[in-house]
């Protein structure tokens, strides 16, 4: 059976989601996204020319049948702004899917858990398919699930840090408990990190900085594609358990024989 991922009403063959920021130009971005075979790309509303009549140049490069757009609210600082921006994004990009990002801290871009939860609840009621970027906080992820988000997107490490799965133990709990897909969002700096997240049981990963700022974005994007597939296959096949310690030469239970 084909391994697919279902989020809300959409079915994805690729478990690699991608960002569209930080690329040297739109053509390089497009080549990388095509090489990654991603089917879901996130776009910052602040970069989109929704006011102009002519079609936005960024969006032109994303116009591929298999590529769905996931507008994000990067830049907002609280729930009220997020809800307003989401409605504008829905109009501008003609999709009710939304990556909810509320990071009032512009230095480390830490998501605000309180505002994110409040906004998620409102946006779900307004008919959005909400994918919130959040801390790797197991309780918060359950609370988000309870208000009806379509997936949770906990961070692996601070955004843009390329530090991999610094939050691994928390991600393990989130994945274990979640009824909705878990997308590891930030901090993935190398294909090996992506593979590790997938081995852990994440449903998908989102990568941006590591692709956009690589020497050869399309080359790295393809490497991410394979890493995500490898990690996923390893998870499905079942990784062998790790031996906590060497087996004692005189077994402790030998007396039972």
């Amino acid at each position: 059976m084909k391994d697919t991922l279902k989020i809300a009403d959409k079915i994805f063959s690729s478990r690699l989601f991608a960002g569209t920021g930080k690329f040297g130009n739109h053509r390089i971005m497009e080549e990388a996204l095509l090489a990654s075979e991603t089917e879901l790309v996130t776009v910052a509303l602040k970069r989109v020319e929704h006011a102009a009549q002519e079609q936005d140049t960024l969006l032109k490069h994303l116009a591929h049948g298999h590529m769905h757009l996931l507008p994000n609210t990067s830049g907002v600082r609280h729930a009220k702004e997020a809800v307003f921006a989401a409605q504008l994004a829905r109009e501008a990009l003609e999709t009710n899917w939304l990556k909810l990002e509320i990071h009032p801290d512009p230095k480390y871009l830490m998501p605000d858990p309180v505002e994110t939860l409040a906004a998620a609840e409102q946006l779900v009621k307004l008919g959005f398919v909400v994918l919130p970027y959040c801390h790797a906080d197991p309780v918060l992820c359950k609370r988000l699930e309870e208000v009806g988000v379509a997936a949770v997107m906990p961070l692996g490490a601070p955004i843009g840090s390329n530090k991999g799965l610094a939050m691994q133990e928390m991600l393990r709990i989130i994945i274990d408990q979640s009824h909705v897909p878990v997308v590891v969002d930030a901090g993935i700096g190398a294909p090996s990190h992506a593979a590790q997240a997938m081995e852990l049981g994440a449903d998908a990963v989102l990568v941006n900085t590591a692709m956009a700022t690589a020497g050869d974005p399309a080359g790295i994007a393809e490497a991410f594609k394979w890493a995500v597939k490898a990690g996923r296959q390893a998870f499905i096949a079942g990784l062998p358990g790790q031996q906590a310690a060497a087996i004692a030469t005189s077994p402790l239970t030998a007396f039972l024989d």
């Binding site: 920021g21 690329f23 130009n25 602040k46 989109v48 020319e49 609210t73 843009g160 700022t213």
Partner: protein
């Protein structure tokens, strides 16, 4: 407030400390992942000069990681050249006998449309300090007009009270720039003998008032050359470090205007060379990976073309530094001499040729309620 922290420092001690930095200090600073103010001093010191190439490489890497391969474009628009201050280095100083002008609403619209036609969505509104003609009533009248045409509004405006900054925020202003000019108290007094600007502390505490008012982005900097540029940069870095911790929801930017030796105008006390300016820009980036670094058209085309890759995140182009300069009165006197007169389209091409994406829009009024 920053003043009590600032007052704990002594200019001469810091100056000695910077010039006493050794190559060992520089090497330690370069090896660290998170750098301190002491590291910053080492990196701007003469001892770091032989390490410039390494600094440039590290700065490029750090900037690309945080900001990507993109450069933000903006244009300044001068609302007025009226000013009640005497600043010894400024073309718009009260004691300069020049025709004074403040844009009317009709003129402002002409200017806005001219700047917009060049492709801009980010605009920097600049004023002198003439509270009567160009104060809050004027801004209340003009900002709605600007907001109709631009997605991102920054202002380089005379120091205001906190409530005024808060009102500017509600009028759509995203960013306020205020430069201390120099952090040397006595020299500051010499260069600002008359007008409201002569109050050093009121200006020093400006970013505090802006931060408390909830303005999204705060720009700071020193006018390089008024006093020792290294010591001034150290104090600006101290200022930034304090501001980041205090106003954790604000973004910050730093600019590097430098005084050039010109016939008939104020001679800089310390001249910062091109090589030293690159060192300074890279040192800022290595000290702070997140701060936006901005470059104006004061610099030469050759310098600007190369600095794009070394740590800068935003750049102006096609700038006019006189009120009405774009459309209304293109021939009037400019505040400072433009060295790079190339068009925004030409600069965008330079950015593209360098492998970077020129960004015209990176904000939206919808994100700011």
């Amino acid at each position: 407030m920053f003043t009590p922290i600032f007052n704990q420092y002594n200019w001469d001690n810091e100056l000695r400390s910077i010039y006493g930095m050794t190559e060992g200090d520089v090497q330690r600073a370069l090896a660290r992942e998170q750098r301190t103010l002491t590291d910053f001093k080492a990196l701007i010191s003469p001892a770091a000069a032989p390490y410039l190439e390494q600094m440039a490489w590290l700065s490029q890497q750090a900037t690309q990681k945080r900001f990507g391969k993109v450069i933000q474009l903006y244009a300044p628009l001068y609302l007025s050249n009226e000013c009640q201050n005497i600043c010894t280095y400024c073309g718009f100083s009260l004691d300069n006998k020049i025709p004074r002008k403040t844009l009317t609403a009709v003129e402002l619209l002409q200017e806005l449309l001219a700047v917009k036609a060049m492709g801009y969505q980010h605009i920097l509104l600049v004023t002198g300090e003439a509270q009567q003609q160009v104060g809050m009533p004027y801004f209340r009248q003009m900002l709605p007009l600007v907001k109709q045409h631009f997605q991102h509004i920054a202002m380089e405006v005379q120091p205001l009270d906190e409530a005024d900054y808060a009102e500017l925020h509600t009028l759509g202003v995203n960013t306020i720039l205020v430069y201390q000019e120099t952090y040397h108290r006595e020299d500051y007094r010499t260069h600002h003998p008359k007008g409201k600007k002569s109050n050093f502390d009121y200006r020093l505490e400006c970013p505090d008032r802006i931060g408390r008012a909830g303005i999204h982005k705060i720009g700071i900097g020193a006018l390089l050359g008024l006093d020792d540029w290294r010591a001034d940069s150290f104090f600006a870095a101290l200022h930034l470090q304090y501001l980041e911790k205090t106003y954790w929801q604000s973004k910050f930017s730093v600019s590097f205007p430098r005084l050039r030796p010109h016939v008939g105008s104020l001679q800089p006390k310390s001249v910062i060379t091109d090589r030293e300016l690159v060192q300074l820009i890279c040192a800022w980036r290595l000290f702070n990976g997140d701060v936006e670094l901005s470059m104006s058209t004061r610099e030469s085309p050759r310098f600007r073309d190369h600095i794009i890759k070394l740590g800068i995140t935003s750049i102006s182009a096609g700038s006019k530094t006189n009120p009405g300069g774009y459309a209304v009165e293109p021939q009037s006197l400019e505040q400072f001499e433009i060295d790079d007169g190339r068009s925004p389209a030409a600069i965008a091409q330079v950015i593209k040729d360098a492998g970077y994406e020129p960004v015209w829009k990176d904000w939206d009024h919808a994100l700011q309620l």
